[in-house]
Amino acid sequence: MSKKKSANRYFLQGNEAVVEGALTAGCTFFAGYPITPASEISEILSERLPQVGGTFIQMEDEIASMGAIIGASLAGAKSMTATSGPGFSLMQENLGFACIAEVPCVIVNVMRGGPSTGLPTNPAQGDVMQARWGTHGDHPIVVLATSTVQDSFELTIKAFNFAEKYRTPVVLLSDEVVAHTRETVELPPREEIHIIDRIAPSMPPEWYIPFEDNSRGVPPMAAFGDGYRYHVTGLVHDVRGFPTQRPDEIEAFMKRLFRKITQGFNEIQMTKDFMIDDAKVAVIAYGSVARSAKRAVLDARDRGVKAGLLQLVTLFPFPRMKVEEVLRQCRAVLVPELNMGQISREVSRVNQGKCQVRKLNRLDGGLITPEQIMYELLKI
């Protein structure tokens, strides 16, 4: 990292900050396939990972990349891939495997306009629901959204921490603007950063029951080669990891998958608020749009509107408790998004008619400006 400004201050791009976050979190394996606007993450890691004894590999496609990071994680490494919409679609089948087999890993999706090849160099937020529901079958997942370069660093670490703690894939949504904007960031010394590693089994191998429930709902995880020989499968399995058709075992397993995330909900649901305490109208935003929203709130206040911002840092599990507080307090909320309303629908869903939920959507490849948001705030 060359662009050092002072002690712990650096001038970085969002994608570079993801790399710093990943290395700080202890990532030692990356597999990916080039795609704009995510390629810098691959390029930098191809240079940095071998320096720390880690491994970088460019695979033949994103399906393979996702498979490789799962394999690497099963062998004990903290692993990551990075892509954009089209590649993220290709990852979905194996992402489901990571969910059912409870393999910690991090998937960064630097969103661009879609569908299909879409707008490769423009920002968008069209993959929110793909992140939530892109893989098949019922499953819980953790999805975070970065809005600044500082966020990109911190949330990449969080993403690894959640992945390790809950044995789940974590999706970090970035977008073209956050990825390529250069900003000053503060990277605290390593010893000040909380890093979580998966819990390894403490019992001898003959006592290890690899998918047995416990109070957290997260079984300890052995790495291949550590002497705990066990079976990992994408089939629904019993506590020993073997395929099962027994309804009682299926239900216990599926419920635990959901429960482990639900139990962690308070910690996982992350939001940031800005001037929300006395707000009568609020913006609920995430990603690069939250940056414009902050400015819009200040400008609206200058014009006498008691506005505030609730920034969603965690998108899924949907931070409904925090959103509900705002919905109870405010007369109206505005949900600006670079899509046709993927999160506004979630907001409406938890609203139960208490508050007016307004949308502001932009799909032309441009950013939602502070003026657009302020204008809407003045209207409501």
């Binding site: 320096q51 393979a64 498979g67 990071i69 799962i70 394999g71 099963l74 062998a75 291949f224 079976h231």
Partner: protein, 275 residues
């Protein structure tokens, strides 16, 4: 199998797995698993150091029964998972069991690239020339003219030769055997496991239920005899006219070359980058 052999397999079977297994009586998959176990035992590999990875299909069910580190992945993608494992823990012996459809239809891209990269994995492909698990649809190795549940008028596509594909793609070791030639298979698997680099063992196998039945090939025993009659040793094939080889397949070692192995090359990159 003799008494001694039966005991050997018990040494490697998982006793806590709920048997019976999923395979039809007479299926070739069991013979392949038996050969693999004998090869591993003969080489004296530690169970803890063996990782068996598979894709999806009848053949993909192999790992669940044996006491290694085992991973049953998604259809066609086994080699990608195996790649991640091998790169993180190069000392592990990573064996990847796939079906013909698994390895060369949906997983064809991964197959040629794993070979090209020369990553030190042992790929075992059970070629029964059909999609067994899903009910007898045609696969990339279903012969021209044969019937399949999705080729009821006879197959009009041409089959891949998996082994030749592997040679062309750059695999370090390629052998083709059959479930009839079980002893020969043991030896091929031993060589493949020992080989540094990407090695492929293609095993011609019988699926009397989904392939043989629809193509009047008879019961498992008749199909085994067919494998015997249609197999030609590579050395002998070289002396034969192309016409004489019509409808037959060659068995033996197609490639055994030494070239830089991915994990070792990457280790050099690490050493250089750290300086």
């Amino acid at each position: 199998m003799d008494h001694k052999g039966t005991k050997l397999i018990h040494k490697y079977l998982r006793h806590d797995k709920k048997f019976p297994h999923v395979w039809c009586p007479g299926c070739g998959n069991g013979i392949v698993l038996g050969a693999l176990i004998r090869a591993i035992d003969k080489l004296g590999l530690k169970k803890d150091d063996v990782v068996m990875v598979s894709g999806i299909g009848c053949s993909g069910r192999m790992p669940v029964y044996v006491d290694f580190n085992t991973l049953h992945t998604t259809h066609g993608r086994a080699l990608t998972f195996a790649t991640g494992i091998k790169l993180v823990r190069p000392h592990l012996h990573v064996m990847v069991v796939m079906g013909d459809g698994d390895a060369t239809a949906i997983g064809g891209n991964h197959f040629i690239h794993a070979a090209r990269r020369n990553i030190d994995l042992t790929a075992i492909i059970v070629n029964n020339q059909i999609y067994g698990m899903t009910g007898g649809q045609h696969s990339p190795t279903t012969p021209y003219g044969c019937k399949a549940t999705t080729a009821m008028y006879g197959h009009i596509e041409h089959a891949f030769s998996i082994s030749e594909l592997a040679v062309t793609a750059g695999a370090s070791f390629v052998a083709r055997g059959s479930v009839y030639h079980a002893q020969m298979l043991d030896g091929m698997l031993e060589k493949a496991i020992l080989k540094k680099g990407f090695s492929v063992v293609e095993v011609m196998s019988n699926c009397h239920v989904q392939f043989g039945r629809r193509n009047q090939m008879g019961d498992p025993v008749t199909m085994m005899k067919r494998l015997k009659d249609h197999a030609v040793r590579i050395e002998k094939a070289k002396t034969m006219e192309p016409g004489e080889l019509e409808g037959k397949f060659t068995i033996g070692i197609l490639a055994d070359v030494d070239k830089p192995v991915y994990t070792e090359e990457y280790e050099k990159i690490r050493e250089g980058a750290k300086r």
